[in-house]
Symmetry: C2
Subunit: 320 residues, 2 copies
C-alpha cells in the first residue's frame, strides 16, 4: 500500500474527501489561549509558537473523527523561527498519533544536491554526525516545479524509500497564477507542460489501486482547467486549495474528482479553524473555549456539502 | 541608500563582487568539530546543528575581510528541524556583526496571505501575541516566482518597509532548468516572461545609484542567456550561482555584469567552505583545524580570478 492508498483508506473510513488546513494565525486565536502562553513565556516568539500549538491541539482533538487528513502551512510556523518549527513538529506528532494523514505544505524547491537535503528534511532522515536520524513523520510534502526535474527527483527518491508522497504545484488557486503557469486561453500553457511531466512521473509510482504517490496541487478556483488536468493526470491525487475563504464552492471542486469519486482531497483552512469567529457559529458557541466545537461543526458541514455535490454529479462512492 | 546600495558599498570596500555560500554539510566538516559537538550533545540533531554553527563561525572569521557578502542555503539548516533553524539564526547574527551582507537562500513562495507570512518571517517582524517582534536581520531573500505576482508582492512590501531586498529565480543554473523556464532555443521562453516582470518591478524600486532592491537569480552555466537577461533587467543585481563546483568559470559570469563592473555578485559555496578537503589546499593545510585558512585562500583566489576576468572584459571598476 503506498501513502496515497493509506490516505484513501482514511478517506473511506471517514467517508470524507476533505483536509483541514492547520494554518493558525496569532490574531485569530481565542484570547484565553494567548493569555496562558503569555503567562508562561512573556510576549515572545516562544509564547506565540506555544499558543499556536495548543490551538492546534484543540482543533485536532475536535476534528480527528471527521476528517482523514490535515495540512500544515509551514509559513504560519516559520514566522516564529526555531520555536515555530518546534510547534510544527509537535503538531505533526499529535496528528499522526490521531491516525491522520499529514500534508506538509512547504512548497520546497531547489536544485540537485540541495533539493536532496530538503527531501531528507521533509520526507527522509537527517544525516547525523554518526549515521542518520529518525524519518520525518509527515506523509506528503508540497513542492514547486519551477526548477525542473532535477529539482524534483530527489523528493521522488525519498518517497520511494520511505513510503511518502508529494503534491507538485501544477495550477494554483490565486488570481495571478496565470502569469507564469498560463491559463486555458493559451494553446500550450506552461501548466500543461508541468501536468504532462507530472503524469509521466505519477505513472511510474502507481500503487495497486492505480493511484500514485505523486500527486498534484490543482486550484478549485479554475474548474475548467481542473477538468483538463483531471484527464491529463488520471493516476494523481489532487490536493485542492481554494475552497471556502478563497471563493471555490463544492461544485467547483467536482471536476477534480475522477468518476469513481476518488482522486481529490479538498482543503479548507480558515473557515474551519476560525469558525469560532464566524457569525454563523458565534451565536451557538459564544464561549471562545468552544472553538473546537465550532471547527467540528464546520468540518461536518463541509463534509456534507462535498458528499451532496458528489451525489449530484454522480460520483459518490457506493461504500460511503 | 537601499539594501543593494549597501551591498555595493561592501563590494567596493572589498573590491570583490563575490559571495560565500555557507552551505555546511555534516559529512564535510572537520572531525574535531564533530567530536566536540558529539561530546556536548550526543549523536543528536542538536549536535549536528551545533557543529554546523561552529563550522560557520570559523569560516566567517576567516573570510569576512575578503568578501562582502554571505549566502545561507536554508536546506542545510532545515534538515535539523528547530535546532537547524537556530543554527541558521545564530550564523546570520554573527555575519551581521562582521558587517557582511546576508542573503537568505530559502526560495520561498506561496499565495497572498501566506506569502505575506513568509515575507514577515524572512524580511519583516513576526506578529507576537501583543504587537510585533524584531525585524529579521537578513538583508536579502531568494524567492520562486511560479505562483505569479500576488505571491511576490508581499515580499516587495516588506522590502520597502524594512530596507530589504529579494532575488527572484529567473533562470537557474541546474541542467533541467530549461524544462519549465525554457531556454534560448525557444522564441518566447518562460524565463523572458519572468525577466520582463522582474524588470518592471525593479524599475519601481531603484535607489540613487540606479540599482534596485529587486534582484534576480541568473545561473552562470548559461552565459548566452545571461547576456539577454542582463539587457532585459538593467537595474537588477544578479545573484549568480553555478560558479566553481557547478562548472561555471569566471569568464562565464562576465555577461552577468553591467559595463560598469557592477550588477552581479558571484556565489561559491563548497569550493570555499570545503577547500580544506581539496587536494589543491590539503598539502599546505594538512591540519583540519586550519579549514578557515584554506577557505580564506580559496576566496582570495576566486576574487583575483574574478578581477582578472573583469579586467580582460574591460569591466573592472576604476576604483577597485
Amino acid at each position: 500500500m503506498n501513502v496515497t492508498e493509506s490516505l484513501i483508506k482514511n478517506i473511506n473510513q471517514k467517508s470524507n474527501p476533505s483536509v483541514v488546513g492547520l494554518d493558525p494565525r496569532i490574531g485569530n486565536l481565542p484570547p484565553f489561549l494567548k493569555e496562558r502562553s503569555l503567562q508562561k513565556f512573556g510576549n515572545t516568539l516562544q509564547a506565540a509558537a506555544d499558543a499556536l500549538y495548543h490551538f492546534n491541539e484543540g482543533i485536532l482533538h475536535s476534528i480527528h473523527t471527521i476528517v482523514p487528513a490535515v495540512k500544515l502551512q509551514m509559513a504560519c510556523y516559520e514566522v516564529y523561527g526555531a520555536f515555530g518549527v518546534e510547534a510544527f513538529e509537535r503538531t505533526v506528532l499529535l496528528a499522526k498519533k490521531l491516525d491522520l494523514t499529514v500534508i506538509d505544505d512547504s512548497k520546497r524547491n531547489d536544485i540537485g544536491s540541495t533539493a536532496e537535503l530538503y527531501a531528507l528534511a521533509h520526507l527522509g532522515s537527517p544525516p547525523l554526525i554518526e549515521g542518520v536520524g529518525d524519518v520525518n513523520p509527515v506523509d506528503f510534502l508540497t513542492i514547486n516545479p519551477w526548477l525542473g526535474s532535477d529539482g524534483i527527483e530527489p523528493f521522488v527518491q525519498q518517497c520511494q524509500q520511505h513510503q511518502k508522497g508529494i503534491f507538485i504545484l501544477t495550477k494554483t488557486s490565486n488570481p495571478s497564477s496565470a502569469e507564469f503557469q498560463g491559463d486555458s486561453s493559451s494553446d500550450s500553457p506552461m501548466f500543461r507542460e508541468v501536468s504532462r511531466y507530472v503524469h509521466q512521473l505519477s505513472k511510474q509510482h502507481r500503487g495497486q489501486s492505480g493511484y500514485s504517490s505523486i500527486g498534484s496541487v490543482v486550484g478549485a478556483t479554475h474548474p475548467g482547467e481542473a477538468e483538463v488536468l483531471r484527464s491529463d493526470m488520471p493516476y494523481c491525487y489532487f490536493l485542492v486549495p481554494g475552497y471556502g475563504t478563497q471563493g471555490g464552492t463544492a461544485e467547483d471542486t467536482m471536476p477534480c474528482f475522477n468518476q469513481d469519486g476518488y482522486g481529490a482531497i479538498i482543503n479548507s483552512s480558515r473557515k474551519i479553524c476560525f469558525a469560532w469567529q464566524d457569525p454563523q457559529y458565534k451565536g451557538k458557541y459564544p464561549n471562545p473555549e468552544d472553538y473546537g466545537l465550532a471547527a467540528k461543526e464546520e468540518s461536518q458541514r463541509m463534509k456534507e456539502e462535498l458528499l451532496q455535490a458528489l451525489k449530484t454529479s454522480g460520483k459518490l462512492p457506493s461504500n460511503w
